[in-house]
Point group: C2
């Protein structure tokens, strides 16, 4: 039996990825995930409210790191620069999450319910960034435009990334921002 | 009984909006929609494959108009300019669709299944624009960035729009593009 809550949580995440990958998302139960992780189903529900959420662990931390970067940025950077700084601040999380990201993406692609949740999670990150920009006095419409465009720039960078080096990802974000300036 | 197929289709759309609004999306059946529209359920399924699709009629036309605008644009506009021209070309469709858009948005907000479909439809428009840009020789990553940023610019414009005048929406798209240039 895993001793700490964090260890149980990590084992549940891993067990869910394994079982969703092997048996399919729909065919897997939370009881099976708990059993594979060596914990009770009750422990599962202490960590995750449902079958989907186990795949999206770490999103709250991502939001915190990104909004924290916007809140603490010195000077008065332009709105888009703030958003890109937030993505750069989150690079260590993207590096750490990379081994899971591809397995997770494959599972999400199999289920409309998971796709909807993934969309909602992405929107929640965008909304958090918009809120953090507004806290710096940036008007909502401009904040929203900057957050959406920043997400597009980050997506452009992430698709080029080989997944290994954080400094590469940071450089790719800068290149994508340069490309945007040529487009706009 | 409606005589033409187009008339039946329009009545089915209207009936679905009415019933989804009055009784909720989950509680409404295709049989009820068909009855309200004065057609058979078989006629319903000749026009729409399921309960969701009746809410998204017109999306194929939107894609056609937008990709057509990209394909036929004279000269060699920059990728983002092409995307914005596509949105401008679709302004008459947005004006025509506006009376339905707000009722539809309220219904979509009540159902994760509908939200997922709405997300997928938006992605399908983006993918169509990317394809049209690629047909003009623009590389996929640049095309994707331009399509995503163009969508963000259009969203910025659409949120300011009062829904009445097409020329207002066209002007707002131009203003949002100017704002992007200041951001980037």
């Amino acid at each position: 039996m895993p001793r700490s809550g964090a260890e149980a949580r990590a084992r549940l995440r891993e067990a869910a990825l394994d079982l969703y990958g092997e048996c399919g998302y729909d065919a897997t139960t939370t009881a099976e995930i708990a059993a594979r992780a060596g914990v009770t189903e009750r422990t599962y529900f202490r960590h995750f409210p449902d079958k989907r959420e186990v795949l999206f662990d770490g999103e709250a931390e991502l939001r915190e790191v990104m909004t924290g970067a916007i809140a603490s940025a010195p000077g008065s950077p332009a709105p888009l620069a703030l958003v890109l700084q937030a993505y750069v601040a989150a690079v260590p999380l993207f590096v750490a999450g990379r081994p899971v990201a591809e397995r997770r993406a494959k599972i999400i692609a199999t289920s409309p319910a998971l796709q909807e949740r993934a969309h909602a999670k992405r929107d929640a990150v965008t909304d958090a960034l918009i809120g953090a920009l507004q806290d710096r006095g940036i008007a909502e419409p401009t904040a929203r435009l900057a957050a959406r465009v920043g997400a597009a720039v980050f997506e452009r960078a992430g698709r080029e990334w080989d997944g290994a080096s954080g400094s590469d990802l940071t450089a790719l974000i800068g290149q994508a921002a340069d490309e945007l300036r040529e487009l706009a």
